[in-house]
């Protein structure tokens, strides 16, 4: 299984968009976190866009950026949306409401509470009737999403992987603390075995993890399941030719990405 990365979307505090992130991850500019602005995904009818939560905006913004740089139409592209925490704000609001004597759950909040809500909104915006999925694997979420997307490319379509996470809100964060907002999108396609370049994936035993050099970015990587993607993105930014990246996978395992 060899994969090409055709385009990238990126959003993190202080780094909005892949061009800005690439410069920073390649070590050409210093990392200075700043609160993310309100992101405004393209392509959705105003009515739908109004209903988007902050988490959905984050996911859809990076999806839109990667798709804008893609050679193929979104209507010919499958999607994998991967998030460890999902939409904690919505879950928190619904659980608060349900703790009241006669709860009145908002219908919009309820259908937005499903883990596949960003995937659903994306398919509506892109008018894409292609397969889409939504997955989770706790701290292994990025690697698991990458594997899911990689295996889906064998169905003969490009696959847009969108990984996104925001920390859970109070009080949910007490036993699941997190740090920083992060999302990235990788448009992946299958490469034939004959092609010399392209990413290869393999699962290995051991829990080694590739880290990132900047301490603030490393803090983000460790505090956010989706941001476990950062070492791979740093390598794609140009800094890590020939290296192998170890991404944390399900317990005691790592996903080794090579061929960068």
């Amino acid at each position: 299984m060899r994969l090409s990365v055709e385009s990238i979307g990126f959003a993190a505090p202080g780094l909005v968009g892949w061009p800005m992130a690439r410069e920073c991850l390649a070590g050409n500019t210093a990392y200075r976190p700043e609160p993310l602005p309100k992101l405004s995904p393209e392509g959705l009818p105003a009515n739908e866009r109004r209903r988007l939560s902050t988490t959905m905006r984050l996911a859809l913004a990076v999806a839109g950026e990667a798709q804008a740089g893609a050679p193929q139409s979104a209507r010919q592209t499958a999607t994998v949306f991967a998030s460890g925490n999902g939409d904690g704000d919505i879950i928190n609001a619904i659980c608060e409401e349900l703790a009241r004597p006669d709860p009145a759950v908002s219908p919009t909040q309820f259908h937005n509470s499903v883990h596949n809500a960003p995937a659903g909104y994306w398919s509506i915006a892109a008018r894409a009737m292609t397969p889409h999925t939504a997955v989770a694997a706790h701290d292994a979420t990025f690697a698991a999403g990458l594997l899911e997307a990689a295996t889906m490319t064998t169905d003969g379509m490009p696959v847009l992987l969108v990984a996104y996470d925001r920390p859970l809100p109070v009080p949910l964060n007490k036993t699941r603390p997190g740090h920083g907002e992060f999302a990235c999108a990788l448009l992946l396609n299958r490469q034939t075995e004959a092609t010399p370049s392209g990413l290869s994936l393999r699962i290995e035993s051991g829990d080694e993890e590739t880290t990132v050099a900047d301490p603030l970015l490393e803090e983000l990587r460790r505090g956010n399941p989706a941001a476990r993607a950062l070492p791979l993105l740093a390598a794609l930014a140009g800094g890590g030719v020939g290296t192998e990246i170890n991404l944390p996978y399900v317990d005691g395992k790592r996903l080794v990405v090579s061929g960068l």
Binding site: A99, H138, A150, T151, R176, D251
Partner: protein, 402 residues
């Protein structure tokens, strides 16, 4: 898109637990005796006029000591289901045959253990903090179910939670097939669990999709769903390598998006038709080869109409079809594995289960909706599972074929 025929997989062991009973023999007995599992809603704290498909015995169920930290309704239901039909022994057999690292764990759920979070919010301290007994990662986290089962069963292969609302536990079959095809594992545990909770009861109520009566899929008078809970699992091995001729097989899978609306189906069932066609293409079968369509059939006016149009588009007029939501309710993320299990029972015992509670089929519905259990050989079934966000998945399952 490449939907060329897939290498079939055999479910060498499988089990389901729902309002029809604990394990597959209980489900068969209920189906054979026309004994539905829906009861008037008596779920604690839910002051709603509706019917539910509740699994008995969960309130008093205790996880064994070494798994106690995983306690929540969803994991209790999962564990209860694992202990039926000799399934634990089969998991052991699979682990010994392939090695723990070669068995993938791919499970679907829509709400995971959120019932425990709801309870924690009701018991918040004055400071707003959740009680000390609450652990997010052992209950509500979407990955809790696969993590819990890997621990309980000693499996260490690739793992994933698929959470695409009501298509979740159908889509895990596709994930398992792709991981096995890619050589990432040699066998897989698939399935799904969803348990009753206030979020889905009140949420579907807020969307005005819940019926105050037992649900009547495809009936002229149908007016909504009943929520249910279920757990089901299957062990998948390559059919050509496992030497098992009797067990149900996965012959094809298809996935699609509606690209239409978050909580309403495409009115012509265009996405549903794409999923069924892709599943047929992967199975290498023609529409006429399918004996029965196990409909998603939730019982809302819009869903059943859209699905019927899709069935007609793929199979032509008068396709033998029924929904089993009138038996055990809509089990959400477990709907796909419930459909798989009931299809397996139908194939093994030679009958098509009726759409229970459906009396007068809507004249706008074209399919041959089965109103009484119908004795007939069944060797191939299309199982549909469609969810919010327009997430569609269809499976072609067969037995004694190829």
């Amino acid at each position: 898109m490449n939907n060329s025929p897939m290498r079939p997989l055999t479910a060498s062991a499988w089990t389901v637990t729902s309002a029809l009973g604990h394990g597959r023999s209980a489900a068969l007995e209920s189906l054979r005796n026309n004994r539905g599992g829906l009861t008037r809603c008596d779920y604690p704290q839910a002051k709603l006029d509706t019917w539910i498909g509740r699994v008995t015995g969960l309130e008093d169920y205790r996880l064994p000591g070494e798994l106690a930290e995983w306690d929540c309704r969803n994991n209790r239901l999962a564990h209860l289901a694992l202990n039926q039909d000799g399934f634990l022994d089969e998991c052991r057999r699979l682990r010994e045959r392939y090695g723990a690292e070669q068995v993938g764990v791919f499970l679907g759920t829509s709400t995971s253990g959120i019932e425990l979070t709801e309870r924690a919010y009701r018991e918040r301290h004055d400071t707003g903090e959740l009680p000390e007994w609450f652990s997010y990662s052992h209950s509500q986290d979407m990955f809790t179910l696969p993590a819990f089962l890997r621990t309980a069963l000693g499996l260490s292969g690739p793992a994933l939670a698929v959470s695409t609302a009501c298509s979740s536990s159908a889509k895990v079959f596709a994930t398992a097939a792709r991981y096995m095809q890619a050589g990432l594992c040699r066998a897989a545990l698939v399935g799904g669990v969803d348990s009753l909770c206030l979020m889905t009861l009140y949420g579907f109520h807020s969307l005005q999709l819940v019926s105050a009566a037992p649900c009547r899929p495809a009936d002229a008078e149908r007016d909504g769903i009943n929520l249910g809970e279920a757990a089901g699992f299957a062990l998948l091995e390559w059919s050509d390598a496992c030497g098992d001729q009797d067990s149900p097989m996965l012959l094809g899978f298809g996935e699609s998006g509606d690209a239409h609306h978050m909580s309403a189906p495409h009115p012509e069932g265009a996405g549903a038709a794409l999923a069924m066609q892709a599943a047929l293409d992967r199975s290498g079968l023609k529409p006429a080869d399918v004996d029965w369509v196990h409909l998603h059939g939730t019982g809302t006016p819009a869903n059943d109409q859209a699905e019927d149009l899709a069935v007609r588009r793929v199979f032509g007029p008068g396709q033998i079809s029924s929904s089993t939501k009138g038996w055990c309710g809509h089990t959400l993320g477990a709907a796909g594995i419930m459909g798989f299990g009931i299809a397996a029972l139908a194939m093994e015992h030679g009958f098509v289960p009726a759409s229970l509670n459906t009396h007068k089929v809507d004249p706008a519905i074209d399919a041959d909706i089965v109103l009484e259990n119908r004795e007939q050989p069944v060797s191939r079934v299309m199982v549909n599972a469609f969810g919010f966000g327009g997430s569609n998945a269809s499976l072609v399952v067969g037995r004694g074929v190829r």
